[in-house]
Symmetry: C2
Subunit: 198 residues, 2 copies
């Protein structure tokens, strides 16, 4: 069964980016928390350098993923992953397809008919694996619609003080989550929560 | 050296209470996360029922504490701990001393000359042990003034959606914290961060 998994690095005070969409502080652990190299793959490859526990966490999580779902803002900030996201086919929820897209040989797709259609398409493309979700706004929409199966939060050991909050407009009152899987890295704590449903 | 340690239960989305100051969801782990009983002591004693790892976390943390620092709101919600807080002498930061206080045989004191004086008095009363701090507003004041040594956050596996945020008005931009000590409980993850200074 294809699951929908939100994956975000977040500061202790709940921010996923600063007021200018900068992610240097919350992404710092990806690049300097240890000596283990982790190659992202994709068309804009990066090499992470993390601690042993974080490397294992990343290997386990990424191996489960078969496609990506993001919002338009994440797509823009990532410059479209140069056309190919390392997790597989990418589905970008947007009102308007951006100029110059879709591109030839790209696996980036645009969904203009809302969150439910986006989840359906991303699941179909995942080939039985999970859909990884990036972006605070899309994650809030998924939670509010009862469409999220897991929250994988990399809690970075930093207080940002201001910025873009991961959780800011949740509807429907308290949601008790399942017991998390906890992985202690260096300067980051990986928390994977199952989302209990209805 | 007496340390100043902020101790709060917080939801994943950063709330320490709901919009009515209710703490049932974020305190749930204290009362039903396991079978190990933990007696609070004090003049309004409670018995927590937690998992083994949470019990060990509580024993370690509470044994380090020699006094308490809170804001007026926390004092009111806790009804003044019936005059004696289990951690030791309590110092309540307030503009006005509440009617009927201080009470005879109480170890609850009121500080009206600001956060620095409150810290000084609480440290002096701690007898070499640490000062435990409760209350979002006081913790924000301590962080902004560079007076906090540790953040001990019990991250409860719940999304509240709204309420009182632990971190809402931090000044001075990003603060990188030290690597946390992580204790995985049941429905709660205990994260103790050293606050790096200057």
């Amino acid at each position: 069964m294809s699951k929908v998994v939100a994956i975000m690095s977040m500061s202790i005070d709940g921010y996923v980016a600063d007021l200018n969409d900068g992610v240097a502080e919350v992404f710092d652990w990806y690049f300097s928390s240890g000596d283990i190299e982790f190659e992202t793959g994709g068309a804009a490859p990066m090499t992470f350098k993390v601690s042993g526990p974080s490397a294992q966490h990343l290997r386990d999580l990424w191996s489960e993923l078969g496609s990506v779902l993001t919002g338009r803002r994440t797509f823009e900030i990532a410059q479209g992953w140069n056309g190919n996201h390392p997790w597989g086919p990418a589905f970008v929820l947007t009102h308007q397809i951006p100029d110059g897209w879709p591109r030839p040989n790209s696996t980036v797709h645009f969904v203009t008919d809302g969150i439910e259609g986006a989840v359906r398409q991303a699941k179909a493309a995942a080939g039985g694996k999970s859909v990884g979700v990036h972006g605070a706004d899309v994650i809030q929409q998924l939670l509010n619609a009862g469409l999220l199966d897991e929250l994988s939060i990399d809690t970075a050991a930093v207080l940002l003080g201001s910025g873009v909050r991961l959780f800011d407009r949740l509807a429907g009152g308290p949601t008790v989550l399942g017991n998390p899987t906890v992985t202690a890295g260096v300067g980051v704590t990986h928390l994977r929560y199952p989302v209990r449903k209805g």
